[in-house]
Symmetry: C2
Subunit: 250 residues, 2 copies
């Protein structure tokens, strides 16, 4: 019996070169593939919902593969895989999907969260899990700028160079920045939900919002950056360690 | 000029044998002492507000030392120390205190937070920062039990064997358990504020509350455990990685 299984995966990306298998580094996809091949007893092709960069985390990444081995019930892959997986990668759940289902092409929405904080020094507890910002951010200005991001637009300005995609149009459903005071630090959360994201798009939007939040750019620059479609107008690419793939909606 | 400096320290305890200097492991106190001796140019005696166990974190630990070196302003020790300290230990602030001030004896209140979560598997993102509980907890029952902990009482039942203290009376000002649903997990937060804590006291109370929360003990067992003054009646010592020293009030 051949069945297609969809797994939900949580990982801490700090120790990996990202999701995608590549030379010169250990990827999350590689560790998972090797683990599932041991369990299934045959080669598999693990297809994720999309790549995540080195250092980026996932609260819920999704991937499908075809399994010819019958002995594991559809929903029991977590129990089998987690015994073999390292502590920083775990399978949260598994279910059978149609053989036509595709983890990447059938993704309707993706939700990302970018965690940042400001304080007098880099926080030991937040190391690797948040991005440290050495200045306070004005979240009101950032949210004004967020207002220009929603909707169906061409996001060429937020696409890293070297990307092979031809279509730069994506739809952003919601985007907002919140802040919370925690002891010596101010934490900032930037959450974005969209139909899909270009290469480094979330990190470049985060970097642009940081420039706006610290007063280096005005909020309505965001509108001009989008309409100008030039990567050079946007802000820097914010570091990966604050970024989380939160969920994928199918 | 001899001045007494009080520093506030944040650390991630995962890589250390605890606060206290001891043979056979690297302690937070040792790393900080060596760093401050480099800065001051003379031997120092760094006296903390109290010990924390191996793997326990601090959002705000306090320690004092005497400094004969004049060139560093009272409030500039963070800038000098943090350049030399590893990423998992940072000085948050410093100030001059009276030469009679003592970080341990002058502590009026201490606040600890114990972070736990339940889910189908151990969470990669929470690894080392939360304690994984493989069953759901009834926070209503736990809070009923918490009601018996407050007040000035003899807490012998929650003191690890081998402790050298003679006086087991401490005052607990507040204690509560809260829960929050986050994706695939339920997070539980147990916060306790007291005049001081016996050896492993917070972790043994946490372990007892976990037994109550999962239904292995009834909430009013807490009253009998306290009045019985026997360690054997209380629950297990909950693991260190979910515990945070949140603040010390002087």
């Amino acid at each position: 019996m051949n069945r297609r299984i969809l797994i939900t995966i949580e990982y801490k990306g700090s120790a990996y070169c990202g999701w995608q298998i590549q030379k010169g580094g250990v990827s999350v996809q590689q560790v998972l593939t090797e683990c599932l091949e041991k369990i299934c007893g045959h080669k598999i092709n693990l297809c994720g919902s999309g790549r995540t960069d080195s250092g980026v985390h996932a609260m819920a990444q999704y991937a499908h593969f075809d399994c010819n081995y019958d002995a594991i019930p559809d929903d029991k892959f977590p129990q089998c895989a987690n015994a073999l997986l390292p502590a920083d990668i775990k399978v949260l759940c598994s279910r059978r999907v149609e053989s036509s289902f595709h983890a990447r092409f059938d993704a309707k929405k993706k939700i990302y969260l970018y965690k940042m904080y400001y304080g007098g020094t880099a926080s030991p507890i937040r190391e690797g899990l948040f991005t440290y910002i050495p200045f306070e951010l004005d979240t009101e200005k950032m949210n004004t700028a967020c207002g220009y991001i929603t909707g169906r637009q061409d996001f060429s300005a937020f696409c890293a160079s070297g990307s092979s995609v031809k279509d730069f149009v994506r739809e952003i459903y919601s985007v907002a920045v919140t802040q919370i005071q925690k002891g010596f630090y101010t934490e900032y959360y930037f959450e974005i939900c969209g139909s899909g994201f270009l290469r480094n798009m979330v990190r470049i939007i985060a970097g642009t919002l940081i420039e706006i939040g610290r007063g280096k750019m005005q909020p309505d620059c965001m509108r001009q950056i989008i309409s100008g479609k030039m990567r050079i107008n946007a802000g820097y690419t914010a570091p990966p360690q604050g970024l989380y793939l939160m969920d994928v909606i199918y």
